[in-house]
């Protein structure tokens, strides 16, 4: 077990360091006590052993109560002087060793690792292991905390782990400073813990991400792995491992841009569902067909180019790194400055993507483009999360932040995997389907902030449903979302996905029957979640919601009611 080895390590370091001082203390104590209990006092007898120990204890620790139990003879005083010097020196040596030990960096690491492993062992809720606490990692941790899910963080940068300890999370987020690709650290982080739900690997070095994924598969064959990889070869390797989700920020970026260009309504919906601020469901900008200018042709630029091309959008690329030999008519070598933008035809272009990997360059491009053609649809890539305020102030049509996008996508996979499926489903459908969904959500929620939650039917918290089903009643989705105040009205929520036996139904019909073991993803406000939870755990409310009747609760009155008053039609 990892914890015992840590325990042994700490104990063994303490023992090794303290062996000398403790031996010296024992010898000095033995010598002093023996001498004191041999020398005669005023009453002609030496001190008892206990009194000698008592005397030595307060003398050696420099407390010095005086000559207790009675006045000493000169022989005793002589020995007392010796005791004092011996004892004090031995104690100073011991204390000095302890101080030296607690300052020893190896000891500090050993203690920190042990404390971390113990904290992880005490976690009682499902948790996620996050390897790498950079921009994406910290955004993900924040999102998990908002959804009350714990995470264990490993990062090799001690400053980041210190910063983690200062954050105000709603849940426990223990952090370990260390190399996440060392198996021992992964085990300490709880990879074998039965409640460990997933390992998320977000280390910039993709070799390490792959290593972590492979080691995780060996250490725990069931846990889910979510791994960031941009390299085709890495993705290939990862796809052969079981239950691994590969997250490619550039791919996500491309999909997002395509959705924003081809289906703005769906783009708004998905942004709204993941809780992005300032998404107006009504606002939808249909971008007219025309030329796009792509500034930056690195890994991301290539992806964007591919996605735009696949939608028959013609593009002009501006990048200083383009090879002269491969230049074609729609490529311009150079920085995206005033002249080059003009050359690329900014005045007639409908869209512009400022997608370089430097935030200051992107902002400069925005300024020049804004001056040349204020109507152009502007998409900007924000590389660093800390620059958020500037990008918000820039009023562009679409800001895309790879770290935020990655964090949100992973969060959605962890918190409500069914919603991720739901969005994929909508992407594959006609836009009319999205329109319908948006319409229904709008009616149910109005302008409330959306909140997604998954409800498992007939577990311990929804026993009232089981009771109703046992009575042979038919329970429909619409019954679940009725308002307890008035069953003809419904709560501010809507079932989005109904999963039964591994099969998911998107936007299920409200007349659909529910069965034990179903998973339902609801979208609604927080108040509706509370009310719904109260409803499905209260047998009387459930009875009212399904039948509209409120039979008496006590045995006696209930019997009388059933005998004489129960409406015959319902029987």
């Amino acid at each position: 077990m990892a914890t015992t080895s840590d325990l042994n390590r700490v104990t063994s370091i303490v023992l090794r360091f303290m062996r000398g001082p403790i031996l010296l203390l024992i010898v000095v104590y033995g010598l002093g006590i023996t001498g004191m209990s041999l020398i005669d006092g005023h009453n002609g007898r030496p001190m008892s052993l206990f009194h000698a120990f008592y005397f030595f204890t307060y003398t050696a620790t420099t407390t010095g109560f005086g000559e207790i139990p009675g006045d000493f003879t000169d022989q005793q005083r002589l020995w007392a002087i010796l005791c004092l010097y011996m004892g004090v020196v031995a104690w100073l040596y011991a204390i000095g060793s302890i101080i030296k030990l607690v300052q020893n960096p190896h000891f500090i690491t050993a203690v920190a690792e042990r404390r971390f492993a113990r904290t992880v062992q005490t976690i009682r809720e499902p948790f996620v292991i996050i390897c790498g606490f950079g921009d994406t990692g910290s955004l993900l941790a924040r999102g998990l905390s908002d959804n009350l899910m714990s995470a264990v963080v490993i990062d090799s940068d001690p400053e980041r782990i210190k910063a983690l300890a200062m954050r105000d999370y709603w849940v426990k987020m223990p952090g370990l400073c260390g190399d996440a690709s060392v198996p021992k650290h992964l085990v300490d982080a709880g990879i074998k813990h039965p409640l460990c739900r997933a390992v998320v690997s977000l280390i910039p070095d993709e070799e390490l991400d792959l290593k972590i994924a492979v080691m995780t598969r060996f250490l725990n064959s069931k846990v889910r792995i979510i791994c960031r990889a941009t390299d085709k070869q890495q993705q290939e390797h990862l796809s052969h491992l079981q239950s691994v989700s590969v997250i490619d920020p550039f791919e996500l970026f491309g999909v997002q841009l395509r959705t924003a260009v081809t289906g703005p309504r769906l783009h708004n919906l998905s942004q709204w569902l993941v809780g992005a601020k300032s998404v107006d469901m009504d606002r939808q900008t249909q971008i007219p067909p025309g030329n796009w200018i792509l500034c930056g042709y690195g890994r991301m630029g290539r992806r964007l180019h591919k996605y735009l091309n696949s939608n028959d959008v013609s593009t002009v690329i501006i990048d200083p790194g383009l090879k002269e030999s491969k230049l074609s008519s729609n490529m311009i070598k150079g920085h995206a400055d005033y002249d080059n933008l003009l050359k690329a035809g900014i005045r007639d272009a409908v869209g512009l993507v400022a997608g370089t990997d430097s935030d200051s360059k992107n902002l400069r491009i925005l300024l020049s483009a804004g001056a040349l053609n204020p109507d152009v649809y502007m998409v900007v890539r924000q590389n660093h999360h800390e620059n958020e305020m500037v990008f918000n102030a820039a009023h562009v049509n679409l800001t895309m932040q790879p770290s935020l996008l990655t964090a949100r996508t992973i969060l959605l996979k962890l918190i409500s995997p069914l919603i991720a499926q739901f969005l994929d489903h909508l992407r594959a459908q006609e836009t009319a389907v999205t329109e319908q969904v948006v319409e229904r959500l709008y009616q149910a929620l109005a302008s409330h902030k959306p909140h997604l939650w998954t409800q498992k039917l007939c577990d311990s918290s929804s026993f009232a449903i089981q009771e109703q089903l046992d009575k042979g009643r038919v329970l429909r989705l619409e019954d679940l979302i009725r308002s307890p105040a008035d069953r003809s009205k419904s709560l501010n929520c809507l079932p989005m996905v109904l999963e039964r036996g591994g099969e998911a139904v998107m936007m299920p019909d409200l007349k659909a029957q529910v069965k034990p073991g179903d998973l339902v993803v609801f979208c609604g406000d927080t108040q509706s979640q509370q009310l719904l939870n109260a409803n499905i755990s209260n047998p009387y409310t459930m009875e009212y919601l399904i039948t509209g009747l409120e039979p008496p609760r006590g045995y006696l009155l209930n019997w009388v009611w059933r005998k004489w008053f129960q409406p015959k039609a319902k029987a």
Binding site: P484, A485, D486, N538, P539, Y540, Y544, E550, P552, R553, G554, Y555, L556, L557, N558
Partner: protein, 128 residues
């Protein structure tokens, strides 16, 4: 309006009222307290408990608890009365014993009060 609430409320409030009727008066004077009222209060309390049997809601639980407490205290008061009076003469209780009987009924009064307040509060905040 819910018929069950009317019936349960009737018995809860009647139990409280009878309890007050019994406790009113000089605490040590047997002539100020009527043994019939005490007996009736016990009966009404027991009925109130009986009506709550089978209710699994939180309100049902607290009403059941208060009903049991007041029944227990009132029955104790009645037993003390029986044990300390000459047979056939209920007024022959010594004033020290009368103090105990009435204070037991006073305890039941508190419990009945809690029961009525809880019931009323729940009825008022009820969504339907």
């Amino acid at each position: 309006m819910n018929l069950e609430k009317v019936i349960v409320g009737f018995f809860a409030i009647l139990a409280l009222a009878l309890n007050v009727v019994f406790v009113m008066g000089d605490i040590s004077n047997p002539t100020h307290h009527n043994v019939w009222i005490l007996t009736l209060a016990i009966l009404i309390n027991l009925i109130a408990v009986g009506l709550k049997l089978g209710d699994r809601s939180q309100l049902g639980a607290i009403l059941m608890a208060t009903g049991l407490v007041s029944s227990l205290l009132l029955i104790s008061a009645r037993l003390v009365w029986v044990a300390n009076a000459d047979s056939g003469d209920d007024l022959s209780v010594a004033s020290e014993q009368m103090v105990l009987i009435v204070s037991l009924a006073g305890g039941a009064l508190v419990s009945n009060l809690v029961s009525v307040l809880t019931f009323a509060a729940d009825t008022v905040i009820s969504r339907r």
